[in-house]
Symmetry: none
DNA sequence: CGCTTAATATAGCCAC
DNA sequence: GTGGCTATATTAAGCG
């Protein structure tokens, strides 16, 4: 348990496990970020404008989250009206 | 090809492929971020101090990049001194 | 006040003051950047290696911020241990 | 001279002077950056939208540099035509 | 002038 | 829910 950290190393071992899990996940995340960069490099090589494609992705993301929000509101209203 | 973008939709199709690849990768990335959050929640539940664990992870990351940096400096100096 | 911005120009005047203050400051900043460039040009003219001097400045900056960081970590741990 | 750097410390002293000049200038620059941040904080406190004001400043900057460019071109043309 | 690194701006997260 | 802080994304600068 965490309070043992200064006593017998038991919590130390547990902490180490957590830290390493986090580090593995962050590495994976970094790998994916690198993949995304590669895709941008590729589309640039194909003659597309990186800045604009970035903008498009951003707009689509916003639109998606707005749509979700709309649906959430709809659901809320329907619940309020006993329609669901 | 990208220049066809306003003509016949060929580039439009290619662009769509790229955008979708990016979106898939970003989703994966988001999933991993969520996993990391879960790990922090878990270790918090086990009695560890989230802020400090975050700091530990950050320090280990810095140490790693510092080691790389040292090597880069060494190389730079060796180049400057014509030793390489 | 800012909400008047579409009404009577009062906020417009205030905004203008802010924007001009920012622009003056950015000009000053640009001037200093130019001064720094001049110093690098000068030391280059004196036979020093610009790239390496840049690195030295960067390292000194990092060292300073690392020292601060160490203190921050110490404080964090002391807080966590209820020593403060 | 810079080549003495490994010999007698003369160049070392000169280098130190340069580094310190750069550091002083970078501090000044940082001070101004902080001032700019303060102005943004202030205008935010007055009810203005920071992001939008930033955009305005950026646009004005672009316009200014475009105007300068136009003038440079004009001058060039006038010179080419022997009008100046 | 394009490509890589540094500075800045934005967004997300956590604590209060 | 607001404000500070960290992390990410964007933009600018420097270098070859």
């Amino acid at each position: 348990m965490a309070q043992d950290i200064t006593n017998d190393g038991v919590a130390g071992e547990e902490l180490k496990q957590f830290v390493e899990r986090i580090e593995r996940l962050e590495e994976e995340k970094k790998g994916i970020s690198d993949d995304i960069k590669e895709v941008f490099a590729e589309l640039k090589g194909r003659g597309f404008d990186v800045k604009i494609v970035r903008k498009i992705v951003q707009i689509r993301r916003q639109d998606a989250s707005e749509r979700q929000e709309q649906e959430a509101i709809l659901e809320l209203y329907m619940q309020a009206l006993g329609m669901q």
